[in-house]
């Protein structure tokens, strides 16, 4: 028999409860067992001893679910969004945000390059200008504007639509703050500019892939930009929810 430590125990418990109770209930249940570990350790037990005495997380999840009905109603807008629809929303938004760059550079591959490797893609609009010419603002403007549109599209959408972009609206998703509150323009700027654009450039574009893997292992499916921005993505149950 393998005895789980605290982190393993709580992770397994979450996995067994996810999708079967709402987020608030899940956190509430996890809280109880986390507190139990605290008390057990104070009592001089090891994490393994405590988890051994608790029984298997799967069994606990079964019992807790069987004990229902809890009187807590399902809270709209707080279900963790699955990664599939998020990737589709990301692709839609990436395409929309790259459209001006594709138009300016007439290079379709910018649309694929930009969301994944912006550092490489952002050179395209600048390269359009022929070498050995005196650059004027008129020459540079289309390129700069298309880059600005690329970078600002998501945070502006999220600020206007409380955490939603066109892609997210189509897929029925929205970004909220980690604590469940509505996204504010400040948080969306932080999430998109620092958490996505800057991190992506600094990591030479690999943050997109790392982010996806990170979210796979995150209980709340939080990506790197979610971690930086203090946000998470949930199923959108209504415009004001």
């Amino acid at each position: 028999v393998v005895f789980l430590n605290r982190a393993e125990f709580l992770r397994e418990l979450r996995e067994n409860l996810r999708g079967r109770v709402n987020d608030k209930t899940l956190e509430d249940i996890v809280y109880d067992y986390n507190e139990h570990f605290d008390a057990g350790l104070r009592d001089g037990k090891s994490e393994q001893e405590v988890s051994n005495e608790l029984g298997s997380p799967a069994r606990i999840a079964r019992e807790v679910l069987a004990e229902g009905p809890t009187k807590e109603p399902i809270q709209p807008g707080l279900d963790i969004a699955p990664l599939g629809p998020r990737v589709v929303a990301f692709t839609i938004d990436a395409l929309i945000s790259s459209l001006p760059m594709i138009f300016v550079t007439k290079a379709v591959n910018v649309g694929i390059l930009a969301p994944l490797f912006p550092l490489m893609a952002l050179q395209y609009p600048v390269r359009v200008v022929a070498p050995n010419t005196v650059l004027t603002w008129t020459d540079l403007a289309p390129g700069i504007l298309s880059i600005l549109f690329f970078v600002l599209y998501q945070p502006v959408c999220m600020s206007l639509w409380q955490g939603r972009t066109i892609g997210k609206r189509l897929m029925g998703l929205k970004v909220i703050r980690k604590n469940g509150q509505q996204l504010t323009p400040g948080f969306s700027l932080f999430r998109e500019l620092l958490g996505r654009s800057v991190v992506n450039v600094v990591s030479f574009g690999f943050s997109s892939i790392i982010s996806f893997l990170w979210a796979l292992f995150s209980p709340e499916r939080r990506t790197i930009h979610d971690e930086v921005g203090g946000t998470r993505v949930v199923v959108d149950h209504g415009y004001t929810a």
Partner: protein, 102 residues
Amino acid sequence: MDTQLKKGVLEMCILYQLREQEAYGYEIMKLIKDIFPEVYDGSIYAILRRLNAEGFTEAYMRESQNGPPRKYYRITNEGHEYLKNSISEWRVLVNGVQRLGI
């Protein structure tokens, strides 16, 4: 904790303990383990959740002198009422069983 009967008995014991004084999960668990050592610690919280959901107990956070705040449970008026009924049902049950000579 496989049968409804056992669950009911554990509920009654927990409520009975809380009648005396408010307690946090770990304390309740230890009290129950003293009498029923084979009960899984994890099951106690499932019962506490149900008692809370039914309104027989209520939970609140209380600061502790040595350590982080803890979730304490206290019995409600409905809980007292329910406990009284449980105890009389229990007595009827035990009496019946004893009259058979078990």
